[in-house]
Structures are given as structure tokens and as C-alpha cells.
Symmetry: C2
Subunit: 358 residues, 2 copies
């Protein structure tokens, strides 16, 4: 049983390897050999005075070909502050030392034993990036070189790394509502990727003539507008509601991460195009059928759904909700490399196994 | 962050304290403040030569009043041998040292931080026992003194402890298909509880004139038959299918652990009384409505459903499937006691928290 830190994961795992492991895992998922567990989101009141709520999330998955089952747990204090007419979901660093809590456990499918426990921060960022990268590889124009990123946080960074891993980028444009964050992010990207990166104060200027636009914000309102859509663009989003519904409807080809994870309750993306009757969400706009019928990334990767059909086509990938088998796929690569490099702390395996069973 | 062993849990937690913590948690669940996560059961092929399959299960829950969120993970190799016309589900001890794998993680609802990690063996046994004990307290006759147990394993032991915690037992009768196991179990119980305990070779003799019959086997076939039912009996089962459907239908009052966890796919209990039309399970016997409409243990504990109404009434508790908040409730007691006693290994908290978030 190995403990790995975020620094270990960062040192061991690279975006390219992550995308390659996903290519195999998504194909296996399409074939039905890799599986995804049911996601559970629990939210309760908590004994805090700041109005926060407690959130406990679980997701899991298995990639038998890699010999790994994975569970990811997030234990968060959430608050929902409003500023400038926008409501944001904020994870409060409420753990000692002003820290957050997300954990991944990796298990052997051959012996059942736990093989590793690690914080989820770096792997989580990489896996969201890697699924965007995998979709990009199958959907963006082969010569796509101008990347625009809306957002400047942790997730935005991974989106940039993923695009750079699969397309020959010549420039990166960054928009963030906070100009300092945008500038700092552009500088960091330029240093890490050796690709010119520039901050923009107006989002529509950042995305103009971009081949690829990736939204990676924590906004609960639309950050990408319909009037910004251009022929040939590939548009990605990691959060439901980031892309204005009318922009989505302009896309000739939409792929969703996993339709099974996109219940109508979650489909904020179509806000304004649906209405509720009792507890049931009713699609009042027939164009919504396009989104509801969108194939999954697994179908795209396995060739059961088509990728881009022409240079002018507008393509869109909705990268919502984690799939548990992502953590198993990337976790298998991580474990192999950790063993080879001798990284991580060993914990007594017998602590985490037992001589009884239920 | 504390590591606790099964021996620690065994030393710290007693059945009475567990039942008391459940009484509060089930009431909170009825009021909607304690919550139960969605259970996820994943099963895949595995690269083994013995025909086993890999099973990864997750369940979770939160009891905000106790300040604890809990996740339980089981990582098992399963095989399904047949012997004597019965099919059994066997968990193969495939981890190094011939061991099994089940883990519980406890989190603070106030800070989000992980507070403990422990194997699930002892707590799992106690929580199945404690929920049976809680039901028994509200359902069995107040003067019930003759206990019969069908089964002699790990779970059977906890069922006996639970019954002894809430009723003035005068004798315990044990049946197991393996007479040696039955005798050893009877001797162990007599030693631990100081109550006369006797092994039986015929199950119908063990249950005759018993006030309480608790089934705790790993049989996938019925082990308790309809002709054995007597007036005033309280009958419990921890596994779907243990009680013959016709025996169930004789009960005047049935309580199920949680109806939300009893999907028609799982309702083997009603085998022979249902049939499938496509993917839908059809109740072909109208008497099944009694089972389908049975109240939950939370409703019983909160007083929204009635317990026993007369000395002659036949009552039945179906204790299937874990509820995540059980682990949070018992976990809170466990943590308090571990801190007071100074038990457990301390692990660096900063390993399991992080300075980044997703």
C-alpha cells in the first residue's frame, strides 16, 4: 500500500500518457469491459456559522485490462457567494491549514488489495484535461493552432496542457474576469509550454478567430455566447451551463462525456429551453433533441460515433461529471511509474486488509 | 487522521452503544437530516484462473448531528461454488496473506478533513447486528427470551449480541448445516454472553417455540420455511431470499431496512411470486403488495410506523443492504472513544488533505 502525494503524481504523470491510457479505457468502456460506478452526491447541513453546507461525493470505476479499480471521494465545505450578478460555487478550505479534501484509492482487480491512496488534486486536473484532450484529438481540426481559454484556474491549466498535447498550438489566449489572474496564467503557460500566451480583458476578443475554445470556469452562468461561434471552431466545456444554449445549438456535432451522467436534473445547459412539470423536466424546444441524443466520448473513441466531418464544422464537447474508470486508467499508469521510480511512502498492507469478511 | 484496526474497533465499540447511536441516526434520517448515499456495485471480469470475478462496492452516508460523513468500500474477489444443491457466494481471501479487503473512511462534516481509516470487518458486523437489534427493540415481544439463530458465522455472532443487548434472553439455539460450526458457535456465545446456548442438527427443532428467529447465513436459497412460523414470533433476515416467501406472507407486520434499497431487481425474497416482462419485474401475487409497501426501520424508530400490536402478532424485519449513515453513526462513537482511549495509529493529516482543489 503506497501513499502518493500530489507532488509525486505531478512528477510521475504527464498529459500525453494520461490521454493514451484514456484512449484504451474509453474503448474498453464502449466494449463493456471497463465499468463506471454510480455516482453519489450527498449534501447536508453542517455545524458551521458561515452558512456553508457539507458535501460528500463518491465515484468509482474499474479497468480490468489495467488490473485497477478506483474510488474517488470528495469531502467539501461548500458556499455559494454572489458577486457582480454571478453566483459561484466555492469550496471552502476548511481542513486544518486551510486545506481541501479529495482522495483516490486504487485497488487490484486480481487480489482485491488496496495498492495506493493519494490526494486527488493533480490526478483530477489531469483527468478532466485528458478527456478534453481525447475529445479534441478526435474532433478539432488537425491544423488547429489558436487556443482560447476562458478561465485561469487549476482546471484551465489542464485544459491548456491537454490541447498542447494533441495539437500543434501556435498561440494561447486567456480570458479571466480577474485580469491579474489572466496575466499570471498566461505567463505560467508560456513558461511551461514554450508557446506564446496572452491575457485578454474582453472574452470575445480572446475567442475571435480561435480554432479551439475551452471553457474552464467555476461560473454557474454562461461564459461563452452564441454570437462568438465561428465556422470550424471546436468548443469545450467542463461545467454544465458554461456555454449559452443558443451557442450549443449552432454546433454541427456535439459529443457528451457520458449521457448516463447527464440526467435532466443536471441539464442546466438547456436552461430556458426546458420547463418543469411537477418533478419532470420537459423539453420545450425541439432542438434540444440534438443535445439529448449526443453520442458519448466512448462511442467517439471506439469509432461508433463520427468525429469532425469538414474543416468548417463546429464541434462541441461537453465534459461534465467524472467517470470513475478515468481514475483507474490514469491510476494504473501512475502506479507503474511510482514503482519504477521508487516514489511514495509505503504503509503496512496488513493495516488495510483483514482476516475477516462481512 | 487515525488508523484503527479491527482489534481497536472491537475493544472500543459495544453493541449497546451502537444501537443507541443508530436510534438517533434513524430518527434523523426520517427527519431528513441524516442522509444515505447512492450505493454502487461494480462487477467485472478479472485476470484470474479460478473463474472469480472482481467486485468493487461503495456506500456512504452523513449524520450531521454527529459531525461525521462515512464511506465504506469493499474490494472483493467473488466465486460462486455449488454444493449439495445450494449455490453460495464466496469472498475469496485473495489479498496477500489470504486476506479480505473492506475499508471505512470517516470525515468531519465541519472541516471536511478525513478523521479515520479502518478495515470494515468488526464495524460491519456490529452495524448489521445493531440494525437488527434496533428493529427487535421495537418489534419483538418485550418478554421474548428464546432466541434461535440460523447460521454460525461472523454475522450470526453479531445478531446474537444484538438480541442479547435489547431482550432478556434465557436460551440461544443454533443451527448450522455444519454441526461442528454450530457447536463451536454455541460454546463461544455461552462464554461471551453467559446465556445457555445449544447447537441443533435440525433447523426446525432450533426454531420450535423460539420467540425470536434470526437468519444470518450466506445461503442464496430459503433457510426458514413457512411451516415453522409460530404466533408471536419475531423473524429477522440479513439476506434477500433467506426467508421463504410463504413464510413472509404469514407475518402480520413487516419492516424493511430501507425500501429505497430494495429495487425489484434485488427482491429475490419474492422469487416465484414475480415474473419478468422485458426488463420489468411484475408482481403476479397480490399478497406481494404487503412486502412492497412495508415501512422502513427509520419510520418505525421515528414512530411513523407502528411496532408490534399484540403478543401473538408475527413480526418480521428484512435487514438487507447497508445504509451509509450507519457507518457515520457508529463511526462517531468509535472516534470519540478512540480519542479518549488514545488508541490507533496517527497518520500525518496533511497527507490526506491538499492545498489545491478541483
Amino acid at each position: 500500500m503506497l501513499y502518493l502525494s500530489n507532488a509525486d503524481v505531478d512528477a510521475l504523470l504527464d498529459m500525453k500518457a494520461c490521454i493514451e491510457s484514456f484512449e484504451l479505457a474509453y474503448r474498453a468502456a464502449f466494449e463493456g469491459t471497463a465499468v463506471n460506478g454510480r455516482r453519489s452526491d450527498m449534501i447536508t447541513a453542517t455545524q458551521r456559522e458561515d452558512g456553508g453546507v457539507y458535501s460528500l461525493k463518491m465515484v468509482g470505476g474499474i479497468v480490468p485490462a489495467s488490473g485497477i479499480g478506483a474510488v474517488r471521494i470528495n469531502s467539501d465545505i461548500l458556499s455559494f457567494p454572489s458577486a457582480g450578478g454571478r453566483t459561484r460555487k466555492v469550496k471552502v478550505p476548511a481542513a486544518p491549514g486551510d486545506r481541501w479534501v479529495g482522495l483516490i484509492l486504487l485497488f487490484s482487480t486480481v487480489t482485491g488489495e488496496p495498492l495506493a491512496i493519494l490526494p486527488d488534486g493533480v490526478l483530477q486536473r489531469m483527468r478532466v484535461g485528458a478527456s478534453s484532450g481525447l475529445a479534441l484529438r478526435h474532433m478539432a481540426r488537425g491544423d488547429a493552432s489558436r487556443l482560447a481559454i476562458l478561465g485561469s484556474g487549476w482546471q484551465a491549466h489542464a485544459q491548456a496542457m491537454a490541447a498542447a498535447a494533441v495539437r500543434p498550438l501556435s498561440e494561447i489566449r486567456i480570458f479571466s474576469p480577474n485580469p491579474d489572474n489572466a496575466r499570471a496564467f498566461a505567463a505560467a503557460l508560456e513558461g511551461r509550454l514554450n508557446i506564446p500566451a496572452r491575457a485578454f480583458v474582453a472574452p470575445e476578443e480572446a475567442v475571435r478567430t480561435a480554432d479551439i475554445v475551452l471553457c474552464a470556469t467555476n461560473s454557474l452562468q454562461a461564459v461563452f455566447q452564441a454570437s462568438w461561434v465561428e465556422p470550424g471552431m471546436h468548443i469545450g466545456s467542463i461545467r454544465d451551463g458554461e456555454i449559452a444554449p443558443e451557442a450549443l445549438l449552432k454546433a454541427g456535432r456535439i459529443i457528451v462525456h457520458d449521457p448516463g451522467n447527464m440526467g435532466s436534473d443536471h441539464l442546466v445547459v438547456a436552461k430556458g429551453l426546458t420547463h418543469k412539470e411537477g418533478s419532470k423536466q420537459i423539453n420545450s424546444d425541439p432542438r434540444l433533441a440534438k443535445i439529448a441524443a449526443a453520442p458519448s466520448l466512448a462511442e467517439l473513441v471506439a469509432g461508433a460515433a463520427s468525429g469532425r466531418q469538414s474543416a468548417d464544422e463546429i464541434t462541441c464537447f461537453l465534459n461534465f461529471h467524472g467517470l470513475g474508470y478515468q481514475f483507474a486508467a490514469a491510476g494504473a499508469v501512475l502506479l507503474d511509474r511510482a514503482r519504477q521510480a521508487g516514489l511514495g511512502h509505503r504503509l503496512p498492507s496488513e493495516w488495510f486488509t483483514q482476516d475477516v469478511h462481512s
